[in-house]
Amino acid sequence: MFDQDRLRADSIRAHTQRFLPLILALWLLALVPAGRKLMAFEWTTGATGLTPTHLTGPISNGLSQNEGHSALLVVAIHPLCSCTRATLKELEDAAPNWKQPYRTTFLIYKSKPQPDTITPASDFDWHHAAYIRDAQKALNAEVVDDLNGEQAAKLGALTSGEVLLYSAPDQHGSRHLVFSGGVTAGRGMEGENTGIATLSQALNAAFTQPGAHAPVYGCGLAALSNSTPRGLAK
């Protein structure tokens, strides 16, 4: 009985061995798209909306830091996005080196309860998240709950981790966009990258070329903010 089973197993093995080259070829073929899928997530940039080049009245409503005479740094983040930590860490690390005065506002995404859905209202409290708390302290930031990311959307920030730097107000009280985009090299990746370098340069130099942009990597903020739990956009 045992011998028969063993013979059958050997027969199956011998039969399968003939297909080994084909299996190897298929394996290699499958490896490429799987690897690309992994890397695609890391390097696919998030959506970017139309960021106003000048920060004027209605757009700036809700940004109390706008009142001052310093540059304004707006950071849109999704508290549950794993990439948020990297963005804040980059800013926290870079901030001590910035020479220009600035004010910071964190727009923290918060979902608004919807009567026709079962999605619960977010009860996220940023005070409980150490990495936000540390960043807030480092940047002396004002933290604003951004319901459904509406405020960020008004500023064209559709992806968590998007950073907007507006210059100090000119004599007309208008701020112009100095930098927009992400400050990480990939999703959740800390380390040197062009985004943080450009931002740092803008906050260190007396004059900066306006409208600098860097790709932003992170979770969506506003694009699907009105979606149902089944993921269908209204």
Binding site: T16, K37, F41, E42, L80, S111, M189, C219, P229
Partner: protein, 657 residues
């Protein structure tokens, strides 16, 4: 038969087999480990970041999907290869590459966390189980390629940060090289240990081979036969039966003695080569020693198959052997014992096969014979009889009787000492029944010594009482004569008893002179030098070669009783015995006729010139006390006595030894 084996080749083979086992085991081990790593990677991805968000909608994090699919892909190949191509070099290199890809995957999906890098070192340590430094190199190359490519193009994915990535890359490479140095050294050391173990195993294999095989023929030896038989006896499937063939080459000794040991050895080798193709692959052929071979036929339930093979063996061995310039012809005697009918254990199997072989030899050799129950009964009788003989020797139940020898005038000139045994159970046992048993059991030497001492002691007494003394004839068996200290025993006996050497006559058979030529001749020369007389007993019944009469120092011929029996009525018989007497006289030898029972026979022999007479005409063998009386009278056979003696000669007695 297993090959004798070359230690270096065996070492290589054992090493390869052992290494193959190590590799196959490690293939399975790492494949299993990867099967466990796969879900572990998925879990790690889940715990690090279960979801990504689009506003308030969370979806499964792509890292988890990647861990499932990419991890599965990386796992499936080693599992497949370890099943389809276990132990192959390509398999282990592929497995090593996949294991390191798994490490890379873990590093990527954990965002290059430093902890995840330990997986690389763990993987390298795992791969060191292969004891193959090349595997470590392959694994290192895969890791370094991954780190270099990713380190250059996306250092964040490797280090979690691109800060100082070049130095971190160098640091990583150095750590891997450092780890490699240890692991490669460990592999080489372990491999050396494996090779040393293989060397020891190979040497042990050679020793075991030598222990179980015959150095001359390369066949198995007695130990192997015992082992095979023991295995067969313990195997339930062998209950169907097997056969043991004990083969003895006929005339091998003559070949060895005539052509030398080299030819004898070559003959044994050729016999082995001839026998091997005659048996099946599963059967066993061994050389037990000398010219004895044994064949074990597995799955041989009846006599027909064993008989067929035995017949083929006989036919093959009977063909002439061409050894150098010699053409040698030998035969074979085969004793066959079948299991389970013939015996119950190994020693019994051998014993019964030997008994059957003995039967074959007894029946004229060059044949085969099966052991059967009748033979077993005979063996039991023989064993019991042997026990009685042993007991008789131990308890001193033997006595020596003396049969007178007279000259042609009827005057007593001596006695022949004859051994007698009256057993309390068996009664009077004739010498031709117990002497062969005593020879076979090795009792003949002490028994013969005792007879010699007794006879010499008595004869010494007669010597003193009768002035001139009488001769005493003592039979000597071939075993006694060829024993190394026989001459010493005779010398000491003569010295101890005080018998003059010329009064001692040792009777030897013709077969002793022929079969034990050199050694016997030397002993005879020494005895002759002592002054002891030597006689040829049973002359005319043994070998026809008469050259020994010329070459050996004998004094007397004793014509066998079979020649005397019909001399009265047969012209031819009379002519034959006259010729024998004439020949003895020509060679200046004394001639004695045995078995003389009638006056007519006496007269014919005396007329023919026979010097001495022995037989019932004078007296049957008598105890020592009666012999003393005869010595006192000396002249035994007057004319009247001869007639009386002739009438009383009806009582027959076998006198032989």
């Amino acid at each position: 038969m297993p090959p004798e084996g070359n230690p270096s080749t065996d070492e290589q083979i054992i090493f390869q087999q052992e290494y193959q086992r190590v590799c196959q085991r490690t293939d399975r081990l790492i494949a299993l480990a990867m099967c466990l790593q796969w879900p572990a990677v998925v879990l790690a991805a889940f715990f690090i970041s279960p979801r990504t968000w689009n506003g308030n909608v969370g979806v499964l994090h792509p890292h988890i999907t990647a861990a499932i699919w990419l991890g599965g892909l990386i796992t499936v190949l080693p599992v497949l290869l370890s099943y389809l191509h276990p132990g192959k070099r390509s398999t282990r290199h592929a497995i090593a590459a996949c294991q390191m890809l798994m490490s890379a995957l873990i590093i990527h999906i954990t965002g290059g966390r430093i902890e995840s890098h330990f997986h690389v070192f763990g993987s390298l340590a795992f791969l060191a189980f292969y004891l193959d430094w090349q595997i470590i190199i392959t694994a290192t190359v895969v890791t370094l390629l991954d780190h270099l490519l990713m380190g250059l193009y996306a250092p964040e994915l490797i280090f979690g940060s691109s800060i100082g990535s070049e130095w971190r890359l160098l640091e990583h490479v150095l750590w891997v090289v450092f780890c490699d140095a240890f692991l490669i050294t460990s592999c080489i050391q372990s491999l050396r240990g494996l090779r040393e173990a293989a060397h020891r195993d190979a040497e042990q294999k050679v020793l075991i081979h030598h222990a179980y095989h015959d150095a001359l023929t390369g066949m198995g030896n007695r130990l192997l036969a015992h082992q095979e038989l023991t295995t067969l006896l313990e195997t339930p499937s062998s209950r169907t039966g097997f056969a043991l063939l004990a083969i003895d080459l006929d005339r091998f000794k003559e070949v060895n003695d005539s052509f030398g040991h080299k030819v004898g050895d070559d003959l044994l080798i050729q016999v082995g080569e001839r026998l091997r193709p005659l048996i099946r692959r599963k059967d066993t052929l061994v050389r037990m020693g000398g010219d004895e071979f044994v064949v074990i036929l597995e799955n041989c339930p009846d006599e027909a198959e064993a008989a067929a093979i035995a017949g083929r063996i006989l036919e093959s061995v009977n063909m002439p052997f061409y050894i150098g310039s010699h053409v040698v012809g030998v035969g074979a005697s085969i004793g066959i014992c079948l299991y389970p009918t013939g015996a119950g254990d190994v020693s019994e199997l051998f014993h019964h096969a030997d008994l059957a072989l003995y039967k074959v030899k007894e029946r004229g050799r060059n044949d085969y014979f099966f052991f059967d129950e009748e033979m077993r009964a005979e063996v039991m009788r023989q064993l019991q009889f042997e026990d009685r003989v042993r007991l008789a020797v131990h308890d001193g139940l033997f006595t020596v009787h003396y049969q007178p020898i007279v000259n042609s005038e009827g005057t007593l000139i001596g006695f022949e000492a004859l051994l007698r045994w009256t057993d309390p159970v068996l009664g009077v046992v004739p010498p031709n029944a117990f002497i062969p048993v005593a020879e076979r059991c090795g009792l003949i030497v002490p028994l013969g010594k005792w007879v010699l001492e007794q006879a010499c002691l008595e004869a010494a007494g007669w010597q003193s009482s009768a002035g001139g003394g009488v001769k005493i004839s003592v039979n000597v068996s071939p075993v006694q004569l060829t024993s190394p200290d026989f001459v010493t025993i005779v010398t000491e006996t003569l010295a101890n008893t005080g018998l003059r050497p010329e009064l001692l006559d040792l009777e030897l058979t013709e077969s002793v002179l022929v079969e034990h030529g050199g050694r016997s001749a030397e002993a005879m020369q020494q005895l002759r030098a002592l002054g002891v007389r030597l006689s040829i007993d049973d002359f005319g019944t043994g070998y026809s070669s008469l050259s020994y009469l010329r070459d050996l120092p004998v004094h007397r011929l004793k014509i066998d009783r079979s020649f005397v029996r019909d001399i009265v009525h047969s012209e031819a018989g009379r002519a034959l015995i006259e010729s024998m007497i004439e020949m003895g006289r020509t060679l200046k030898l004394q001639v004695l006729a045995e078995g003389v029972e009638t006056a007519e026979q006496f007269e014919i022999l005396r007329a023919a010139g026979c010097d001495e007479i022995q037989g019932f005409i004078t007296s049957k063998a008598i105890p020592a006390a009666q012999a003393q009386g005869m010595v006192d009278h000396r002249r035994l056979l007057s004319s009247g006595q001869r007639a009386v003696a002739a009438k009383s000669a009806g009582e027959k007695e076998v006198v032989a030894a």
